[in-house]
């Protein structure tokens, strides 16, 4: 069953055509990535889904506005709230009583490695930890679809690899239906069941690639199949950014 479907979605901002006839879908339990160059319009798709931007053209079906939990590109943790109070924000907005919200968050703390940091302020956490907190804040909302906008994009290479490996394990255990936005080919191949490749702005889908590689894929020698898919994706991307030698 498709939890989410975009049909012929186009967006123009001011005079700029940003999205041009986007078609994509996400099935229940599926991990789908949107891969595209910076400035293509990836975050714009999420703004449509979360209702920050009104839909102009086309249709979004399968899910109402309350079926998404959104993790913005920067972590958007509130610097004046302790981690625990950042983590309960979504539940608080849903009207869940504080005690119950905290209990719900507490169930996930250990999996996210945050059990010792609940009374810290965001500024006291490392980049990786902040990202974990932002992820937990997303997951704990209990929405059917997780929208993750470049969740590891701001991290240094080492931390990013660690976080991806950790996240893959978490995802394998929980199987959240996930739509991930990224410009990192490796990340897309490592985490996804399916990948949509976007063109440069105005963005449209130029390739849809299934990744039939068994999990876990990270933390082990990279197999030839992964290499082949990565090479194919890279070529597709470079092709349309016009930077192919």
């Amino acid at each position: 069953m498709n939890l989410l479907e975009l049909n012929h979605v186009s967006v123009t901002l001011g005079d700029t055509a940003v999205l041009n006839d986007i078609n994509l879908h996400v099935a229940e339990g599926e991990f789908v990535s949107i891969l595209g160059p910076s400035g293509a319009g990836k975050s714009t798709i999420f703004r449509l889904l979360t209702g920050t931007l009104p839909l102009q053209d086309g249709a979004i079906t399968g899910a109402g506005q309350n079926s998404f939990a959104f993790m913005p590109q920067r972590d958007a943790l509130m610097p004046w709230r302790r981690i625990i109070d950042n983590l309960t924000l979504g539940l608080e907005v849903q009207g869940v009583p504080r005690k119950k919200a905290r209990a719900q968050v507490t169930l996930l703390l250990e999996d996210f490695g945050l059990e010792c940091f609940t009374s810290h302020y965001p500024a006291q956490l490392s980049g990786g930890m902040r990202q974990r907190a932002a992820l937990l804040r997303t997951i704990v909302q209990g929405r059917p679809v997780q929208l993750l906008d470049e969740p590891f994009g701001a991290l240094d290479a080492l931390t990013r690899t660690q976080m991806q490996t950790w996240f893959e394990a978490r995802w394998q255990a929980a199987r959240w239906t996930t739509l991930l936005v990224t410009h990192d080919v490796r990340e897309a191949v490592a985490l996804s069941d399916r990948i949509y490749v976007l063109s440069r702005r105005p963005a449209h889908v130029i390739a849809e690639i299934t990744v039939p590689i068994p999990r876990p894929r990270l933390g082990r020698p990279i197999c030839a199949q992964v290499h082949a898919i990565e090479a194919q994706l890279l070529e597709t991307l470079l092709d349309q950014t016009g930077e192919k030698p």
């Binding site: 703004r47 913005p72 958007a76 004046w80 924000l89």
Partner: protein
């Protein structure tokens, strides 16, 4: 882009040592000058003489500090209440903001020297005109601080909250209001100093008691030593209020100190 807001809030006495030293040496030089030149105390009293006057007139000074303090607090409370209520209205109605803001700007261009006598004329010699003048002077800085503060909210946090299904009121309470706190305290520290000056000036123009009246009477009886004694007390009063807001800021904005220490 978030505009930087001064963060220091009376942090550490160590930072204060150079300031204390320079003030102290200014007083020493002043004292030496008065003693060596033999200038008349009717022209320029020595700091030691001013200090003597403070001790001699401490009952008088204290009795007149209380009304000034009352006017300051009452006026400040009034302006805070109005500024906050109005800032909320303006935040929810940007169109009203654009319509009203010019009026507030004009209210700030009115010279206190001209307005104070009129306000005293209209409202008499009681507390009311002082409260109104203190409120007039402090209202606008507080309003601007709050309105700017709301506008400084990280748009990504607002988008996040909207994605969670938050209402405009939720967003105001949980994101915009806390985001404005650093600005609020920056405004508070400036306003509190204006407030004391405004109260004293309002008394000077017309009152039954207050530091402004002490200054007026001392001036009229050619007592610069007593004028300066009252000035010292009013400075101390301002410093105490300033320190109190700084302390409050350190408690409320603890998260900012952490951020800076990184």
């Amino acid at each position: 882009m978030q505009r930087p807001v001064p963060r220091q809030a009376g942090r550490g006495l160590v930072h204060g040592i150079p300031a204390v030293l320079s003030v102290a040496s200014a007083f020493v030089i002043w004292e030496i000058y008065v003693r060596l030149s033999g200038i008349s105390p009717l022209m320029l009293p020595a700091p030691s003489r001013v200090l003597d006057q403070i001790m001699l007139n401490r009952a008088l000074l204290w009795d007149n500090t209380v009304p000034t303090l009352k006017a300051t607090f009452a006026g400040f409370s009034l302006s805070l209440t109005v500024a906050f209520s109005l800032s909320v209205v303006l935040d929810f109605m940007p169109r009203v903001r654009r319509a009203l803001f010019p009026i507030f700007v004009v209210s700030q261009t009115l010279p206190l020297v001209a307005i104070a006598p009129l306000v005293v004329l209209w409202f008499g010699f009681d507390l009311t005109p002082k409260v109104l003048l203190v409120a007039l002077v402090t209202f606008f800085p507080m309003l601007v601080a709050l309105v700017d503060g709301y506008a400084s909210t990280d748009p990504e946090i607002e988008d996040l909250m909207r994605s969670m299904g938050a209402s405009r009121t939720d967003i105001f309470r949980s994101a915009r209001f806390p985001s404005a706190m650093p600005y609020f305290f920056a405004g508070l520290r400036i306003s509190i100093t204006y407030a004391v000056v405004a109260a004293i000036f309002a008394e000077y123009v017309g009152a039954r008691a207050g530091l402004g009246i002490v200054i007026l009477n001392a001036k009229n009886s050619f007592r610069p030593d007593l004028v300066l004694a009252a000035v010292v007390i009013s400075s101390l009063l301002t410093l105490v209020l300033f320190a109190a807001t700084a302390m409050l800021q350190r408690i409320v904005l603890r998260w900012r100190d952490l951020e800076e220490r990184r």
